[in-house]
């Protein structure tokens, strides 16, 4: 499997993280998204007319949306699947709010920044309420006691919210949820989401 990848993309990271947790190997094809805008080059547009990343290539299969790619990677891993569609829709909304706020603050994307952040805060509050209820039932993850595709789809843009000027200080349940994901065997980091250094010295 070849992943056309950009190291700072939350959507590409979803795919890298999912594959890592599943123990699947990806061949990364690094795209110069910034500053060269290679995702809009003729070659990349031929592969994905939308001109976005990530793009996954597996033999004849070409997938151009991170939600489709996550479904594809987990097609033989039912333990990661559930009622995924609402969560994947939420993940797409998070990419439009927190994700765009981040691209605005880092790479100067033309975004209504106040609206993007306000929408992000609304979604974070909803997620926090949900995760709080999950914890009342003794669950660490969005859909139960074990991690699922839903968690991996939502985790990147939530964790990277501070990159776009949205604080995560006052979401205790989301913080514990993010920590639970960062503790998973096989977890990989990306810039802005570092590993748990405390785990290097388990007690």
């Amino acid at each position: 499997m070849i992943l056309y990848d950009y190291v700072l993309s939350a959507s590409c990271y979803k795919v890298r993280l999912m594959a890592a947790l599943l123990g699947q190997s990806l061949t990364l094809h690094t795209v110069n998204f910034h500053p060269a805008r290679e995702h809009k080059s003729a070659d990349m547009l031929a592969l994905n007319p939308k001109g976005t990343l990530p793009v996954l290539l597996d033999g004849e299969t070409v997938l151009t949306d991170s939600a489709d790619i996550l479904r594809y990677l987990t097609r033989d891993a039912p333990e990661w699947r559930g009622d995924d569609d609402p969560w994947l829709a939420l993940a797409a909304d998070l990419n439009e709010s927190l994700g765009m706020a981040r691209l605005h603050d880092i790479l100067q994307y033309d975004v209504d920044i106040d609206a993007a952040r306000a929408a992000g805060v609304k979604q974070l509050r909803k997620l926090e309420a949900h995760m709080t209820a999950q914890r009342f039932d003794g669950h660490l993850f969005l859909t139960g006691a074990v991690p699922a595709l839903a968690d991996i789809a939502c985790f990147p843009n939530v964790s990277l919210a501070p990159d776009g000027g949205v604080s995560l200080d006052t979401y205790p349940s989301l913080r514990l949820w993010m920590r639970a994901i960062r503790s998973l065997p096989g977890f990989i980091e990306m810039p802005g989401i570092h590993r748990l250094h405390e785990l290097e010295f388990p007690e």
């Binding site: 950009y6 190291v7 700072l8 690094t30 795209v31 110069n32 910034h34 500053p35 060269a36 290679e38 603050d105 880092i106 790479l107 100067q108 501070p162 990159d163 000027g165 810039p191 802005g192 570092h194 590993r195 250094h197 290097e200």
Partner: protein, 278 residues
């Protein structure tokens, strides 16, 4: 000796990226950067043209009276190097904090874990630092650090040697030993455009000997490293760089930072600095 902050050269864009007029900030003032055919230009808020220089793949400007030429990096001109336009990243921090972080190696094991450093190899051996009066630059030499994966070609860990050079208050250059070419130095720079005292646009640029990596891979590597630093830089208190001793606690590993702060004070460059302990 002391000159105005307006009299230095600052990076304002990548030559390969300047096209339609682009409004930005320099030292808190509005400027516009653009290109008409092959002529690059910068204007201030009143529409007055500012002086420009094209160098290191970037366009540079000076909002005051440039007192001398922009510094040069002779090593970067040697043949066979890949010149890497890394692009820019905006950071909510003092431009001086961004430069100081670039001069620091002690954070490698914790911030760039398993790439530029790793526990337990955290020791920073003594190195040399001097303020070169002739060139008006700060230099750190014989800086050595253990790196788990210093380069793609490196098998296992090696000790890498660095030299650091502060060539202007918001621009630093590092020279790093280059495994495929013993005796040569890779050149990695950090050019900082101060948007205001607490907000900057950072333009890393590199001149590397690397025949294995694609341009996209070299860009990606540097963006990865710098974005790991960004989450540190946006969370230092205070946002501005304290120049007076007392507020922070340097050790021997921080000799470059000490010299940088001392030099800024000496030349009177206090934009982005905090002078009195709050």
């Amino acid at each position: 000796m002391s000159r105005s902050i307006n009299d230095y050269w600052y990076p304002v864009g990548l030559l390969s990226g300047i096209d339609a007029p682009h409004a930005t900030l320099l030292l808190g003032a509005d400027i516009t950067v653009g290109r008409t055919h092959s002529a690059y230009w910068v204007t201030d808020a009143a529409g007055k043209a500012l002086p420009t220089i094209k160098r290191f793949g970037h366009l540079w400007t000076c909002p005051g009276t440039p007192m001398d030429d922009l510094f040069t990096i002779p090593e970067a001109d040697t043949a066979g190097r890949q010149l890497v336009d890394v692009g820019s990243v905006r950071v909510k921090c003092s431009p001086l904090r961004a430069v100081e972080n670039f001069l620091d190696i002690a954070h490698f094991p914790f911030v760039h874990t398993d790439i530029l450093g790793a526990e337990p190899h955290t020791e920073v051996a003594r190195y040399n630092v001097d303020i070169r009066e002739d060139a008006n630059e700060v230099w750190a030499t014989k800086v050595k650090f253990f790196q788990p994966q210093a380069a793609k070609s490196a098998e296992g860990g090696i000790t890498t040697e660095y030299m650091y050079r502060v060539a202007s208050p918001t621009c630093a250059v590092l020279y790093k030993t280059c495994p495929p070419r013993p005796g040569e130095w890779d050149v990695i720079t950090l050019f900082v455009q101060p948007l205001n005292e607490e907000w900057c646009e950072v333009w890393p640029w590199m001149a590397l000997y690397d025949d294995d990596s694609t341009m996209a891979e070299m860009v990606s590597f540097q963006q990865l490293i710098f974005m790991q630093d960004r989450s540190i830089l946006e969370n230092q208190i205070p946002t501005k760089l304290p120049l007076d001793p007392g507020m922070e606690v340097p050790t021997q590993a921080d000799l470059t930072s000490i010299a940088y702060r001392r030099w800024l004070k000496k030349i009177g460059y206090t934009y982005g600095a905090q002078l009195v302990a709050a």
